[in-house]
Symmetry: C3
Subunit: 301 residues, 3 copies
Amino acid sequence: MNHLLTMAELTEREILNILQDAQDFANGKQLKAKEQIFVANLFFENSTRTRFSFEVAEKRLGLEVLNFAAESSSVQKGETLYDTVKTLEAIGTKAVVIRHPQDQYFEKLKDRVSIPILNAGDGCGNHPTQSLLDLLTIQQEFHRFESLRIVIAGDVRHSRVARSNAQALRKLGAHVDFAGPEQWKDTSMGGCFASLDELLPQADVVMLLRVQHERHDRKAEIMGYLEKYGLTKEREQRMKPGSIIMHPAPINRGVEIADELIECERSRIFKQMENGVYVRMAVLKRALSNILGGVAHELLV
Amino acid sequence: MNHLLTMAELTEREILNILQDAQDFANGKQLKAKEQIFVANLFFENSTRTRFSFEVAEKRLGLEVLNFAAESSSVQKGETLYDTVKTLEAIGTKAVVIRHPQDQYFEKLKDRVSIPILNAGDGCGNHPTQSLLDLLTIQQEFHRFESLRIVIAGDVRHSRVARSNAQALRKLGAHVDFAGPEQWKDTSMGGCFASLDELLPQADVVMLLRVQHERHDRKAEIMGYLEKYGLTKEREQRMKPGSIIMHPAPINRGVEIADELIECERSRIFKQMENGVYVRMAVLKRALSNILGGVAHELLV
Amino acid sequence: MNHLLTMAELTEREILNILQDAQDFANGKQLKAKEQIFVANLFFENSTRTRFSFEVAEKRLGLEVLNFAAESSSVQKGETLYDTVKTLEAIGTKAVVIRHPQDQYFEKLKDRVSIPILNAGDGCGNHPTQSLLDLLTIQQEFHRFESLRIVIAGDVRHSRVARSNAQALRKLGAHVDFAGPEQWKDTSMGGCFASLDELLPQADVVMLLRVQHERHDRKAEIMGYLEKYGLTKEREQRMKPGSIIMHPAPINRGVEIADELIECERSRIFKQMENGVYVRMAVLKRALSNILGGVAHELLV
């Protein structure tokens, strides 16, 4: 079963294969299902980027999309996630994309369902397609991961992105450090934890994390966040030549990053979103390889 | 006008024709619209199974689907159901699937609209496609309805499923009895009302009904429900050889049925869901026979 | 950039071109994208007609549709409209249809995004596709605009429709007057403001406006509205031969118009809705002319 649940479960080889497929799609390769294959998107948390990115990826692969919104489903009648997925399986769905607020929600599913699960984010846990699109964006820029210096800055403790990315980047040979407010420090992720000012001059990549208002109610702390912990115009000017800025979005403008930097020359923020589609096409191809392989026709444009 | 509103309006012949078409689809028959035909799904109540089952059925027939969610529509501005349906008709919709909390909502519509209405559940009233998928599941199992003994167990009084099924099963020659808590007894449906323990040993089919928390606020009663009225492992062992268990879902695990029975050998619960797609393809074919007939191509695989 | 934001920005020639394209579609002309082109519908306010009308128009043009519902998006995490649109652009969307409660929301977007925006209503401001479908309905009826007498009656002050229509109709040579309660009078729109009784006998078109409960909390005023300001059966009988009744819907039955007039011979209310699809096909064709022109095939049936 080709689930995609965490970055940890992927070998270096598997990661590089997915990135290669994604880059092929970025270069214009087309792959289209010739028969109807249904996939369902189950989003139990709000999302714009991830949800639409998956939907575009699915439709570009010629898949039929079922968009499941938790608020108008039988989940409201107390149905378990397992029963919901089994239902979708019973009516002919061949893969499910799931975002869910509960950490490791997939542990109760992964050995009991017979269709692949693509994890689109679990609580504060994993968000593997976000990591993969970050990796693709870095690879497009530097054509290697070895000895790159990556700084992940912000709410390290509550970030799905921080955890998944740190694991994967190190597996591929990069050096990962962290910056951010002391109370969001998470020593379980290794690396060095220092101030952005200290780490910034050596960084090839500064990955900013979102301040997640909706997960911890500390709005007061946002006052002054940019100056203390965020990427100001002044800090950006001390970045290395050729270094880049990334952010998983949605952005709190003027909090994690100064407004005028969002579309600056170093920013790859919108490039990341574009790459999200290619990465999701690649993981869907991987998940559906048994059935898509037989019925799709490939076209290298 | 080929509305599908209640099981009562269908003759035995019509029911058997729908089941035949559904079985053909189950066997792999394909029918695809060759032109764009729009259908709309109007769900004024939460649903997973029925909504997605209709959507999959529609897309397998090559229809264009409009998914209407009451919460973001002009219904919020006070628009009547009639005006909503007339609007959909005006913009080119050729059939509407409606689930609505009001019993017999369709009485105000059926003679005033010029497109077929497929009733996907009205309040505590009817749910004909659920009945049809139940019938298909029974027919696949026993290849007849005559003299089968069916026990419908649970919240008989508030169940759309109980009412529709009892009518249809008797029309086809089956014997239908009821079991459940005394306060949910409904003598208007005929048959015998007894304890599950009494009826179980003779039953070919035990159809469990959902305890509908959202319709009557009696959560206290759920305590001990399984032991008193539900299908326990012990009761299951007293069932006849070859007899089957059905449930319309969503299931309250450990309330109507013991957790470990949901996917047991006798259970047809997920088979019912699968059959839901074929039955809905069949009723859509019936509703759209005028236009689909002319533009679809059939393929018997 | 072929945005469609307001009626004011369209020249007489452009309006007539759009109407001509729309009439071609009404006559059965087909235009289908031969490649995948994604468009997104962003509705930040409830809508049935406009949203589904755009969706049907998009699908009839063979476009891939992304339906964005504000309530389950990152807008809930505080994302700006600009970032949402840039996100959709980054993942490959080629046009966005937006309804938003804020007047002139598009001012902050129009020069900063590189995909066309189709305004599906901004606050109390503009609603150009509603105006265009009104114009098409009038043109189908009278085959001219010059010297037609149009009366717009109702909540003139808060109506997107009143403002857009008055501008456009005058540009095309029609004479526009207003009627309605004194407190909803808006002298900034020119023309004469009088009672419906006074203006009705000369009118070729009576355009009724919706009493917008959700915009101003004056439910008390609805008591007696029909008799004082609405179109009663008695008033309808004093209308000119050949004159027509229009209403943008949703209708408050028995408030702006007597129930029995909604589908009377003079009423073009459902015709307006039908025309909404053709008009939206025409403005999508205009917005996407660069890419659709190259990849679509036209078929005049």
